[in-house]
């Protein structure tokens, strides 16, 4: 086919269409990210508080404790750093995602001086032992107030497990269904009985993995990502918290009613908050303007925020710190004029 350059219509059209197709192919290869949104709530109707407790606690628990704590046995040493602030949270691993974690965590344990348990510490250092029955008792609650639940009884057992316990278990089995003497003799030595293992696995005690799946932490959530969505504020919590903050700022804001064209001025002030609700850094106006009226609006807004800080953040929101550590506050006078 000959191309008639004085009539470039068809070939040009073809070329441009091809180019366009190529361009759009490239443009669409990177699928647009979904806008980050609060996680949808399960269909089960539960209250915000219940949900909060649920996500914090053990998912297999029958009842939702009002003050559920994370079930992480290995954190027994942590109560001290924890109250300090966010640090403790960062350190806590979420074992569900990384089971090998126990090792490093356990090392600190042996030296633990406060807990009276440690006769067997040297032994638990063996990783293979850990995932088994494990110290179930030292549940979150027990961890916090070390004395009440005496973790001693279970603890000594697991270490023994390797030799004695298995033997015992086997013994028990023997009693239940007396095996042939020959078999019995055989079994005691090779010590691998699938049934016994099965029983152990079926033990009521939740495996340790589960014990710490309650993710209270946003920093190291399920997948270990800094922005994991595991403990996002739910929509209703978001509303609740922003309502609380809005009410506090409203009380402090003296709107500059005299400002020219106030109905069209809507400064946005960005603020960082610490976990205790105090200001982290200086409040800044987004798109800070040199227009005197806008400046007066911005300054009145910043004064209001300074005046109000520290903000009162109810305890139920503390665990979602990542969600409210930075705020964008829009000030709008239109409704007041």
């Amino acid at each position: 086919m000959k191309i008639n350059w004085s009539e470039p219509g068809v070939p040009l059209s073809a070329v441009i269409h091809a180019a366009l197709l190529l361009a759009t192919l490239i443009a669409f290869t990177t699928a647009p990210n979904f806008e980050e949104q609060p996680e949808s709530i399960a269909v089960d109707m539960i209250t915000t508080d219940e949900l909060t407790a649920l996500t914090k606690g053990d998912k297999t628990a029958k009842t939702v404790k009002p003050d559920a704590k994370i079930k992480v046995d290995k954190l027994s040493d942590q109560p001290v750093p924890k109250p300090e602030s966010g640090e403790a949270k960062k350190d806590i691993p979420t074992p569900a995602a990384k089971p090998p974690e126990p090792l490093p965590e356990q090392k600190p344990e042996p030296p633990k001086p406060e807990v009276p348990t440690p006769p067997p510490p040297p032994q638990p250092a063996k990783p293979e032992v850990k995932p088994q029955p494990a110290p179930e008792e030292p549940k979150p609650d027990g961890l916090k107030q070390a004395p009440p639940p005496k973790p001693e009884p279970p603890k000594p057992q697991p270490p023994k497990f390797e030799a004695d316990q298995l033997a015992k278990l086997l013994d028990q089995q023997k009693k239940a269904q007396p095996p042939k003497p020959a078999e019995a003799a055989k079994k005691t030595e090779p010590n691998f009985d699938p049934n016994a293992l099965e029983k152990l696995l079926q033990s009521k005690e939740t495996p340790q993995k589960m014990a710490s799946t309650g993710t209270e932490l946003s920093k190291t959530s399920t997948a270990g990502s800094a922005t994991g969505t595991a403990s996002k504020l739910t929509l209703s919590q978001r509303d609740q918290l922003s309502g609380l903050l809005r009410d506090q700022i409203t009380k402090c804001w003296s709107p500059p009613a005299w400002v020219t064209g106030a109905d069209n001025l809507r400064p946005i002030i960005r603020i960082g908050l610490r976990e205790d609700g105090s200001l982290d850094g200086l409040p800044v106006a987004v798109d800070s303007s040199s227009d005197p009226s806008m400046k007066a609006m911005e300054e009145s807004a910043i004064r209001a925020i300074r005046q109000c800080a520290p903000f009162n953040i109810p305890p139920q929101f503390k665990s979602y710190y990542a969600d409210w550590k930075s705020l964008a506050v829009t000030f709008d006078m239109k409704a007041m004029l």
């Binding site: 980050e36 922003s242 007066a296």
Partner: protein, 438 residues
Amino acid sequence: MRFARFISALVVMGFVATSLLPRVAHAELSITVDKGNFQPMPIAIADFVGSDPETAAQMSEIIRNNLKRSGIFQPIDKAAFIEKNVNFDAAPNFASWKAINAQALVTGRVTKDASGKLKTEFRLWDILAGQQLTGQQFVTDAALTRRVSHIISDLVYSRITGEKGFFDTRVVFVDETGTKDKRVKRLAIMDQDGANARYLTDGSELVVTPRFSPTSQEVAYMAFGDGDPKVYIMNTETRQREVVGDFPGMTFAPRFSPDGQKVVMSLAKGSASNIYVMDLRSRATTRLTDTNAIDTSPSYSPDGSQIVFESDRGGTQQIYVMSATGGGAKRLSFGEGARYSTPVWSPKGDYIAFTRQKGGQFAIGIMKPDGSGERILTEGFHNEGPTWAPNGRYLMFFRDQSGAAGSRVYMVDTTGRVENNVPTQNYSSDPAWSPLLK
């Protein structure tokens, strides 16, 4: 031609493609605050320091009073100050000012140099942010302490509000003495805060409706001399005066154009009054309206392109707006059962102030230049004659209280929240606010 079509198609497709590109998501919590609590800003005005404590204290007192009258500030009682002696050359102890809830602090120093000149320095501090917002110094004649105080007040006001100041201004008004049936009316001038009043006329003739030029220290007013009442212009500094135009009949309700070069007013002929404009340089006069009704109280828009005025051409007194060159007028006021008069266009252009008479009550109000958003700022037995502060954020007017023997001048802001009496020695009426002094 076809090529152009391809290109335009390409552009359109490009737009479509870009609109589909991923948007940046951000996870911060967004809050909109659309309510607030109107409250004057607590401000501390430390007594100025200096070699002449009396002058220094006087200046801080003038500033304190000015800021308080604006309604935007709430000066904190000196007795509450923790840091009593503020070092002007150093940053104040912010914590101690924060402790008494101050959000801003004004410090200053006044000294006299060898030649007798007054050197005034001041600083405005943001207590919450812990930094200086503004600071300045003035070297002036020793007699100008009041003006320097007003200028400092203006700087503080405008730095905080973003609006122009209005404290360094004067007000011409009609001072009224004598009994009701033998009233002596004299033109007088005072500072915006009521202080420093002095007479401009001697009381031998009745004077009404003074209006300040927006560009100079001149006042146009109407005086009843021998013969017909006439519009005069007087220079408030030299007190020289001259009659405006040479019209047969009574001229009244004068007002300057925004450039100060023209005076627009009413001329009565028979039972009708029409609006005329006179160029002060060429003395040329132009008739702007031609009705059998009473058209009066004309006032220019700040850009000089329109004139708002009152007219009873529709049966009752209402506010109309027309081009500054005359022609068709559009009615702005439609309040039910209400009569509107003395419209005045704000120097900022965003409002028209007026007097409204309704149900036996007189109100001062403002509306947008298109007639919408009417807001009544004060209403009562008798309120009249609004005049704008040069920043367009305050109005003065005069008020007769029921049963009172005379009227007084008041000041109100455009929100209607802030109202102050302007203290005058005698009864006072017809205030006219000057532009900022230079």
